[in-house]
Symmetry: D2
Subunit: 430 residues, 4 copies
Amino acid sequence: MTALPIAADVIARENEARAKHLATDYAALGERLARRGVDIAAITKKVSAYTVAVPSWGVGTGGTRFARFPGKGEPRGIFEKLDDCGVTQQLGRATPRVSLHIPWDKPKDPAELKAKAESLGLGFDAMNSNTFQDQLNQQCSYKYGSLSHTSTQTRSQAVEHNLECIDIGKAIGSKALTVWIGDGSNFPGQTNFTRQFERYLEAMRQIYAQVPDDWALFIEHKMYEPAFYSTVIQDWGSNYLAVTSLGPKAKCLVDLGHHAPNANIEMIVARLIQFGRLGGFHFNDSKYGDDDLDTGSIDPFRLFLVFNELVDAELRDPAFHPAHMLDQSHNVTDPIESLIRSANEVRRAYAQALLVDRKALEGFQDANDPLMASEVLKDGFRIDVEPILAEARRQAGGAIDPIATYRASGYRARVAEARPASGGSGSGIV
Amino acid sequence: MTALPIAADVIARENEARAKHLATDYAALGERLARRGVDIAAITKKVSAYTVAVPSWGVGTGGTRFARFPGKGEPRGIFEKLDDCGVTQQLGRATPRVSLHIPWDKPKDPAELKAKAESLGLGFDAMNSNTFQDQLNQQCSYKYGSLSHTSTQTRSQAVEHNLECIDIGKAIGSKALTVWIGDGSNFPGQTNFTRQFERYLEAMRQIYAQVPDDWALFIEHKMYEPAFYSTVIQDWGSNYLAVTSLGPKAKCLVDLGHHAPNANIEMIVARLIQFGRLGGFHFNDSKYGDDDLDTGSIDPFRLFLVFNELVDAELRDPAFHPAHMLDQSHNVTDPIESLIRSANEVRRAYAQALLVDRKALEGFQDANDPLMASEVLKDGFRIDVEPILAEARRQAGGAIDPIATYRASGYRARVAEARPASGGSGSGIV
Amino acid sequence: MTALPIAADVIARENEARAKHLATDYAALGERLARRGVDIAAITKKVSAYTVAVPSWGVGTGGTRFARFPGKGEPRGIFEKLDDCGVTQQLGRATPRVSLHIPWDKPKDPAELKAKAESLGLGFDAMNSNTFQDQLNQQCSYKYGSLSHTSTQTRSQAVEHNLECIDIGKAIGSKALTVWIGDGSNFPGQTNFTRQFERYLEAMRQIYAQVPDDWALFIEHKMYEPAFYSTVIQDWGSNYLAVTSLGPKAKCLVDLGHHAPNANIEMIVARLIQFGRLGGFHFNDSKYGDDDLDTGSIDPFRLFLVFNELVDAELRDPAFHPAHMLDQSHNVTDPIESLIRSANEVRRAYAQALLVDRKALEGFQDANDPLMASEVLKDGFRIDVEPILAEARRQAGGAIDPIATYRASGYRARVAEARPASGGSGSGIV
Amino acid sequence: MTALPIAADVIARENEARAKHLATDYAALGERLARRGVDIAAITKKVSAYTVAVPSWGVGTGGTRFARFPGKGEPRGIFEKLDDCGVTQQLGRATPRVSLHIPWDKPKDPAELKAKAESLGLGFDAMNSNTFQDQLNQQCSYKYGSLSHTSTQTRSQAVEHNLECIDIGKAIGSKALTVWIGDGSNFPGQTNFTRQFERYLEAMRQIYAQVPDDWALFIEHKMYEPAFYSTVIQDWGSNYLAVTSLGPKAKCLVDLGHHAPNANIEMIVARLIQFGRLGGFHFNDSKYGDDDLDTGSIDPFRLFLVFNELVDAELRDPAFHPAHMLDQSHNVTDPIESLIRSANEVRRAYAQALLVDRKALEGFQDANDPLMASEVLKDGFRIDVEPILAEARRQAGGAIDPIATYRASGYRARVAEARPASGGSGSGIV
């Protein structure tokens, strides 16, 4: 059995140095919340139960078309990736599931992979297919599309790949397949929108037919990139058309960075929930486009507003459980650190949304009192819930300050030695 | 019987001065089109049959929240508005229908209004309700919403108003009701998105139930303004949810200026056509938001791309006939001139789209030849079709150069005398 | 002498009900800040000294081009406006200056106006000219521009108006003139950009020549609206060209809602400070365009990032004192309430920025540690500084909870009786 | 001496098949232009003299961070790149200069490179430095910046690289250096905007000092990417600050795809011309961001509006000669075809702008007649100038239909054999 990657005494030592101040801050916040009839322990418990998946590719260093600047100790395969994910989970206690990307994470022996994950306290989230790159020795190229390609042969190849992802997923205990394609066009006229969408739906029906009944099929929309004039599933409207064309197992997946400038994403989330089609999220943050920055780093209030909808939906329907995953590109930070803090940001937004006085909010909404309604909502956002988040980690055996503890552990330096750089150039594609 | 507003001899004289050059240019273009197997006469006939409605409010001067600068001779009521629409139609021969806005255009005697319109060669297009302003002596205010208001009484009032619009429409021969509401919110928290949308749908169901079977109910979406944080029907996705919740008479109406920055509008149009829910258009142009500028003045290629979808759909299904209306705010131009030229721009885009070699286009699309596919499409756009547009007008009794003819007619000066300025201040609402 | 508008005992009573919890929260926060070496009393003092001007038009109800829904008890003239501003200042203690808009606030007797203001504890901020509307009996229209109009006569009229604003300002103790014009164009070709800018600069030079040496001339840029294709001072680049063409008294004024989608406003602020040309701010918030929503209501982190630059600049140069004003359109709230809370949001952002550990921040920046640098910055933002803001108000004689106190005072109901509605229609300009 | 890459008889044969129709169309257009007093031969001559540079990297296949799908026969070094550029020039006669990118195009023997270029009828345009990727064996990494890096050593390395570019440029006859850096930050707080800009300016001053007196130093701004929160030269305002800080040899370079959504680029161009700081252009087109699509493929009217400013400036000052280069990423087309057509689009926009009746335009502008002013401008755009462009090519020895001629020549198949694929994976950087 694999030992957990960070030594227990490092965590204990780091926690001890912070325990007293945490207790003070947690008590002060508890007193303040009690005043408004909120039990901090109950909130801490809910937060503790709230987790988010990490993608296997998230522990590698990302880049742009201009360049990639590799970090030290990058994982060289799915087993090393799991080690890194194990660190994230061990310290943050918020990321107990990993989402695989095929073909890169394709296991020779699924059972071995499963055992490795379990030894690290990890399970598996949705499977991710990839038909936006060509692999060596691949018969048909995806240069001009995959599931929506004009050629039947190419579409079949892409369908087959997705079916393989389902098979692997079954073997390791996954319960969902996420399909995102880069298909689209770069120029007006390059493709006929209608015929292209027909081809896409036809291919997706073949995949859908093989999705197990207890699985979900997540479709992810994105406004643009890699295609720069049109994209087959360009927005939530097209996504909704697709999932309703397919059937009840199909759900929309919302990536926070895949929308038009100025879009009201929280409203899109509300609409999809209302019509029973929100499947889950890819969390990240962005200022310009699909920037894939760390969740909550650019517009934390927007993240909170999304969680405000989720908590609202949860109260309406306790069975509502969308999938949550971080999907970020860590270009300039240590990926492990970014994942830890981003998972914490997701929990922060959740905790803040839980603290909103919903009865008062509804009252002000019904009374058409916009000022007080917005104040009640922002009041939840303004509360500094870090003591709750830290206490949830502490109680679960994680680190009060996971970044500091990670740095103190020397993990990165250790793996940097064990995993020599590939020497691969960081040249981008301009 | 009302005489047509522009004297026939003015048109004749102005046309005579331009007839020879038009004939030359039409012949040269005809020869060039013949080379590629296109019959210019057939195209001219199709263009001639292509018309677009004008809104009654379009003949008045528009403004912004900062100011309105009234023009001379503004129409003071629906009868004078019809006169101005009559000029537009007489000279341009592309705008034979007028779309009314209630309460402003509410006729005392519908029969009289109908007769007046007929004498000018005009009919009536969709009815437009208005619940985004308060009228004097109105019982409930729309300050906090209309069809989605928290109060049943306010929603009922808004429903009643729409039913009245249907009644008026029946009396004058309209066949559609267009519903656009300003409901939304200015602040996060001000409204609960889900409950607001439920109230909206409940109210719309009451209206839908009264829509005659041979009518269409058009729902118009808009990203923002007058509400600045959220809008009930904020995009085509929500619009689609609404129309499919209501029934087959309900269709989506696309206003070109109501989308997020960078949105691929022609693709939205294609999606709505494909799923049988495109009802029609409000044509205008914009650079920033809902600018309501003259159609084709900012991005003529985008307008062409929309018409490329329409011609594509027309070929697929000859019964496809969406509604077309100009919806512009004429802040700095003579509204009659802007309407004439904008209708001409709509026809220009249609003519250009007709000239696309669709067989070649489809071939290049299927062969994944993006460069040639986009060239074939742009080739249609590049053709200067003005000779076709002018010839279509000439053949129908309109003006070869309608703007010059309008100016030569002295119409504006005449009505400026007959319609003294109201003295109403042009103060905006900052 | 005018008594302050809110009775002292109302404030006392309301404060008494909240004093104990404030003391608890202030002490807990003080303890937490002390741990990091920060003296809460010193911060409270700095916050207390930080004020923001309110515009005279801000106490009226705003609207959109679609409608205006008047509130109750709207002030009917500058004296009543001052009363309302007096309430804002009395309760919030953050808005001791009022910015006038000419011609509306033009006083018959400046001395009387000044005395009235002083009795309310108010002074005067920058003067605002208006050449984007036509006034009754105005000789030349601004329909096609004002300071950049093609006609010398119109430009002269606009210059004269600005000189009058300076004269009024001198009489009441103002020290700045803010010039914002709506000049631009609605269509490509309508204007020659270069010649229009030349005319603008020529007119501004005439104004600049009359600006007193101890005044500032603020130029405000805006991307669009009321002009919808181009605007003379469309962005900070053109603004910078203008102020450097004029001279040292001219400075750029940044309105947070006047930028392109996705613009990094805090970086623009930094650039203008670095090159000595930042004059001041119009604070508000926006999701789409120039929404003029309450400051901090849509993106509070962005507001904080702006203040992060201001605090950084303050440390670099203690003499750095840009002008601060709220510029909002209160369409659905009580304007007094919105002004009170918005001033509080400005202070909140300032307080949060003061709490950033700048030494640690600089260290992480120099060490290229993006994760820790961003965490240190966000740490300041996450602190709930409301106890500091409330304590600052309390110490200055204001209200711990100014909105609740305002509502308890019954002020709005009182003025609603004293100021009957004008009966003016709320019709917008579509 | 190298023979030109396309056999002369292929061009002759292809031209012969099209000569008759071209003559007809050219004559018809000539007659129509003559009517308005325009001599088509004079326009053809001006167009013929109008050229645009191509970048050496433009003949390779581009990609996105998600994938790169290599084309056939990609050039393996600067000599093969020149061959491909030679084809573009031979057929299109619009691209006689190549812009090099160092380190990739660094010649062992500049004289040999120059001779090769001359044999193909090519010269050299601006030199392009590269400090946004790391090269093998590079001492300091640019992961956290180059010219603005916190470390003196890294900045010096970046300065040295630029000085080397100047040296190479001198040897081959270049007259300009273009500097674009990816420096910026991904998170608020990561960098101090002001100190970073100071470091950038300090480094640029060192480069500027070595720029020969008869050279220009072009600085290129870009809103975002590869950095996703802030970029050092983020817009034309910062660009203007930089060039004016440096001196008269420094000029702003405008890439059409590097602006905020909705930005009025033609106005930015006008402002930079007016203040003497427009250095030149990187032409391409975009719908969303820095899409680097083929020039004129998405918004041809915008391209025309930019050329409208250039022609306006040319008339004002005949000595005005900005630099023109295509900067596109050819992800799905044959790069040679895209370059040929894009150069043609640049010429098209120029020809259309030349045909605008500027006297009439100015008259309508001065008369505040927006409708006619915009009509006069659009009239130039609507003219199908392809006969002029084709005739200009024909007269210069190029191809009437360069794409068809290129395909007929079999060039791509020939080089595909001579240049075997590198086998490099097309994997992107997600």
